[in-house]
């Protein structure tokens, strides 16, 4: 009564889920860094709200 396939299923999915979470976090960070680099040259959206002109 060893049921090693149940143990492998539990540990395998756990490791897989953690690897996916880490890769997703790294991909999101790369995207955020690229946006930050692009945003350094672009105007800040919030700054436009302080203008006195109307839409357009």
């Amino acid at each position: 009564m060893n049921h090693w396939h149940f143990i492998l299923g539990a540990y395998g999915v756990t490791v897989l889920a953690m690897v996916v979470e880490i890769l997703a976090a790294r991909a999101r960070r790369r995207a955020a860094l690229e946006a930050a680099r692009a945003g350094a040259d672009a105007p800040v959206p919030g700054a436009q709200l302080s203008g006195t002109g109307g839409p357009g």
């Binding site: 009564m1 060893n2 049921h3 090693w4 149940f6 143990i7 299923g9 539990a10 540990y11 999915v13 756990t14 889920a17 953690m18 979470e21 880490i22 976090a25 999101r28 960070r29 955020a32 860094l33 946006a35 930050a36 680099r37 945003g39 350094a40 800040v44 959206p45 919030g46 700054a47």
Partner: protein, 246 residues
């Protein structure tokens, strides 16, 4: 020397501090997991009733504990946000939710695979399992609510309210095995002692610290990303070396 906690509530101050802590906790988690798995699979004996399948305990219990603990921490940051309106609190709560959902999923999944050979079923609508499933839906609800609200500060406040309302589920999960007659067994580890064999208990506690360190590392890494996403127009972000290099 008194520590000025308000200093660390500034994303600009917290961002580099979190960056230094992520590798510490990440490598700490790896070392602890290696020790915990060695204790769990090499040192700990085979259970006389369940055989080898009980070894699922070394991920099931730590993930279940973390699923509840992370929710309480998320609700704590939500309360801080509502009370003090600090930007970092909302970001911390946002960063915790996916890891909390992951821990809840692992607890349910590993529990199902443990239940089949020991109880004869993957799932039962038992109070412990059902309340843990509700916890997963609470995490999903908080993540979905945030996605549905465009303004991050409004989303922070809405998610904080939902997190605080949902925190009532945590004592229900914890005490469910006492309050109701459940298929799930009662607690083997209490503050007053444990009914487990010493090496089994040691392996489980070391793995619990491994999961804890893993969660801290991932949440801190994610909160750094959220800071970058929300503060990308700020001067201090433009001055970051990683934001300048191509």
């Amino acid at each position: 020397m008194a520590l000025n906690w308000y200093r660390f509530s500034s994303p600009a101050t917290f961002y580099p501090l979190a960056g230094r802590l992520v590798p510490l906790f990440g490598w700490g988690a790896a070392v602890l997991a290696a020790v915990g798995l060695w204790l769990g699979f090499v040192v700990a004996p085979t259970d006389f009733q369940q055989g080898e399948v009980y070894r699922i305990i070394f991920i099931h219990v730590p993930s279940a504990w973390m699923s509840m603990f992370l929710y309480v921490v998320m609700a704590f940051w939500g309360a801080l946000l509502l009370g003090f309106n600090t930007r970092l609190s909302g970001m911390m709560a946002q960063a915790i939710a996916p890891t909390g959902a992951l821990m809840t999923f692992i607890a349910l999944w590993s529990g199902a695979l443990w239940g089949r050979p020991t109880w004869g079923t993957y799932w039962a609508w038992d109070a412990r399992m059902t309340s843990e499933l509700i916890l997963l839906f609470l995490y999903f609800g908080i993540i979905a609510l945030r996605q549905a609200i465009g303004d991050p500060r409004r989303a922070d406040r809405a998610c904080a309210v939902l997190a605080l309302v949902g925190v009532v589920n945590i004592p229900i999960i914890y005490f469910s095995v006492k309050w109701w007659n459940t298929l799930h067994q009662g607690a083997s580890v209490k503050l007053t002692g444990s009914s487990m064999e010493t090496t089994m208990l040691a392996g489980m506690l070391v793995m619990s610290f491994a999961f804890w360190f893993y969660a801290i590392a991932v949440v801190l890494a994610r909160v750094r990303t959220i800071v970058l996403e929300r503060e990308r127009g700020a001067a201090w972000v433009a001055e970051l070396p990683e934001a300048r290099s191509a």
